[in-house]
């Protein structure tokens, strides 16, 4: 694959995503969330962790757009900052799972049959744990922290990536260009790295976009249970945790924690689906 060709391919994909109305909406939301996460420290109207007991549990006002929490912290600022926490967990987790999953999947698809069976068995087993139960077991043993959440998410989503990478590798294993490379005496690792990996990454990128909502939700869920990030980190799940405790005093904490989660998941899902349709037109909706 020449550079020129891959460039036109990616701009082609981008154009297809933009043509899809929902994909466009998704892309706008994703951009907004990422911008929030990147620039949160500069655009927050108040320090998200600054307490002001005199102004505690206030309703929305011009000074505090979404009111204040039980410690007088600005809920709106905490919500903006939450985007950063969400992506700080989601991106490394999804990326790590993708890299490891791709590697294991390609080995399973390219290596000897016994190794394939063994890896598939392990993947199936990991998938047979109900995700949240598995997460709870790990948190119980290792203790709650940002890194634990990342670790759990990685472990549970590796099999998904591995399966797709394996299928892709198997379908390409006997393709002409791979056969040619092999006939030319290219070693297996080299074939995997140069010929198979580039052809697998695209499909996995789609999976990554679709996987981010799951990760964001899991992080928020664990933090809501008090088993994720530690206070006073302003994660959306932590906002929900406070909001649940104060549900009769203020609705704004639950709104500020819940809506960004739903909007982010929607954005990444719409974007991911448009991306999938663009990368693989065969599965296009109308069929």
């Amino acid at each position: 694959m020449t550079v020129l060709k891959s460039q036109s391919r990616s701009s082609q994909i981008l154009r297809a995503v933009l043509r899809d109305r929902l994909g466009m909406v998704g892309l706008v939301i994703v951009t907004l969330v990422v911008a929030c996460a990147l620039f949160a420290p500069w655009i927050v109207p108040h320090d998200p962790n600054a307490m002001n007991i005199q102004d505690r549990l206030q309703g929305p006002s011009l000074q505090y757009l979404l009111g204040t929490d039980q410690l007088g912290r600005d809920i709106f600022s905490r919500m903006l900052m939450g985007a950063q926490i969400a992506l700080k967990v989601a991106l490394p987790a999804v990326f790590g799972a993708m890299v490891i999953g791709m590697l294991l999947g390609m080995i399973a698809g390219f290596g000897p049959e016994w190794l394939d069976s063994l890896l598939m068995l392990v993947f199936d087993t990991i998938r047979s744990f109900p995700t949240v139960m598995f997460a709870l077991a790990v948190v119980a043993l290792v203790g709650p922290s940002l890194n634990t959440v990342i670790l759990v998410v990685m472990l549970t989503s590796i099999p998904t990536y591995a399966r797709v990478a394996r299928t892709q590798t198997m379908s390409l294993r006997s393709a002409d260009f791979v056969m040619a490379a092999r006939a030319a005496g290219t070693s297996s690792p080299r074939i995997l790295a140069i010929h198979l990996a580039p052809n697998t990454v695209g499909v996995l990128a789609v999976l990554m976009a679709m996987d981010i909502p799951t990760v964001v939700a899991l992080e928020a869920g664990l933090s809501f249970l008090g088993l994720g990030v530690k206070p006073p980190t302003p994660s959306w799940g932590a906002l929900l945790k406070d909001g649940y405790a104060l549900i009769r005093q203020t609705p704004w904490l639950i709104v500020a924690g819940g809506l960004p989660i739903i909007v982010t998941t929607l954005g990444f899902t719409f974007f991911g689906e448009a991306l999938r349709d663009a990368v693989d037109p065969k599965v296009k909706k109308g069929r």
Binding site: L22, L121, V122, D124, T125, S128, F129, P130, T131, V132, M133, F134, L136, A137, V138, V139, A140, L141, V142, P213, A217, A220, G221, F224, L225, G226, L227, L240, G243, Y244, I247, R248, P251, I254, G257, G258, I261, I262, T265, L266, T269, F270, E273, K285, G286, R287
Partner: protein
């Protein structure tokens, strides 16, 4: 043929469970520190510690420990509660019906709606209804169950006071009233899943040879959809419901916390906060077993209904 498939499928399930249990054993041992300390937590009495050391055979070689671990599990012995000393198996089994009832209620209202939505959309592809239902399906799938649970608690219990906020209720009608909101929160995203799978499956079936033959024979569209296509198209949904039990179990954990309902989720979270590890591990193992059983049964039902599935794998 079917028997062979069933045996092979049970074999896979057994191996999966075996590996899952072994993973659990390895996980407990991988955590640095004394397993007894980790399993029992700081509040355990010395007697309990001595008893667990003997039970886990910690003074024995590792392989023997593993064998004893398997042996205990086979006898249904998941250890004892750190505080009350009651068998974990019993405690988990007490809480399980609450969770199962919740999952059942969620499936009961969401699956029929999802099937109808998907089938209707597939019968009229690319119409306004189809497009709107596609957006709704994605939308509800995207909303995590626990966020929906919190928002509906806020709106329907705290503000509108239509439904009770906490507990599981007493007596049939009261219990049903307590089930409404949690089952709504858990089931909502399921409508989307089911609708999408149903739509895809229905479109495939509608293009199949036997449906085209019926059309060519002049059979009306309505009976084709209702009698011939729906029956076949519904099969993938059956499998998905099996896989979905694990998914729903995860949602149920949160719904139980949000609505302060008894159940496995509440049990596990309470056990984690009090560092009651035997209960955590027992509940995780039991729910894994439940999940594996559900997927196996779903596959078997699918194989019974659709001979092609047997040959497939």
């Amino acid at each position: 043929m079917l028997l062979g498939y069933a045996l092979r499928r049970f074999g896979v399930a057994a191996v999966t469970l075996f590996v899952a249990v072994t993973l659990m054993f390895v996980m407990i041992r991988l955590v640095p520190g004394d397993p007894v300390q980790i399993l029992l937590g700081p509040r355990a009495t010395p007697e309990l510690q001595a008893r667990l050391t003997a039970e886990l055979a910690l003074d024995q070689p590792l392989l023997r420990q593993l064998l004893i671990f398997y042996g205990n599990l086979l006898q249904g012995n998941l250890g004892v509660d750190v505080f009350s000393g009651r068998p974990v198996t019993l405690i988990v089994l007490e809480q399980l019906p609450h969770t199962l009832r919740l999952i059942f209620a969620s499936v009961l209202w969401s699956v029929p709606i999802g099937i109808l939505l998907g089938a209707y959309a597939a019968a009229r592809p690319n119409t306004l209804f189809d497009r709107v239902s596609a957006v709704i399906s994605v939308g509800v799938v995207a909303a995590p169950a626990f966020v929906v649970a919190l928002l509906s608690l806020l709106l329907f219990s705290v503000h509108l006071r239509w439904f009770p906020a906490i507990g599981a209720g007493e007596g049939f009608w009261d219990q049903l009233r307590h089930l409404v909101l949690p089952a709504f929160a858990i089931g909502l995203s399921w409508i989307g899943y089911i609708a999408r799978i149903m739509r895809a499956s229905m479109l495939e079936v509608m293009g199949a040879d036997h449906i085209r033959t019926l059309r060519a024979l002049g059979v009306a569209e309505r009976p084709i959809v209702l009698i011939y296509a729906l029956r076949v198209a519904v099969l993938p949904v059956v499998t998905i419901i099996g896989v979905g039990v694990g998914f729903l179990l995860s949602s149920a954990v949160f719904a139980e916390i949000v609505f302060a309902r008894p159940g496995i989720g509440k049990l596990v979270i309470d056990a984690i906060t009090t560092r009651n590890y035997p209960i955590v591990m027992g509940a995780v193992l039991m729910s894994t077993a439940l999940f594996v059983t559900a997927t196996t049964v779903a596959d078997l039902i699918n194989a019974m209904l659709d001979p092609r599935a047997r040959a497939g794998k």
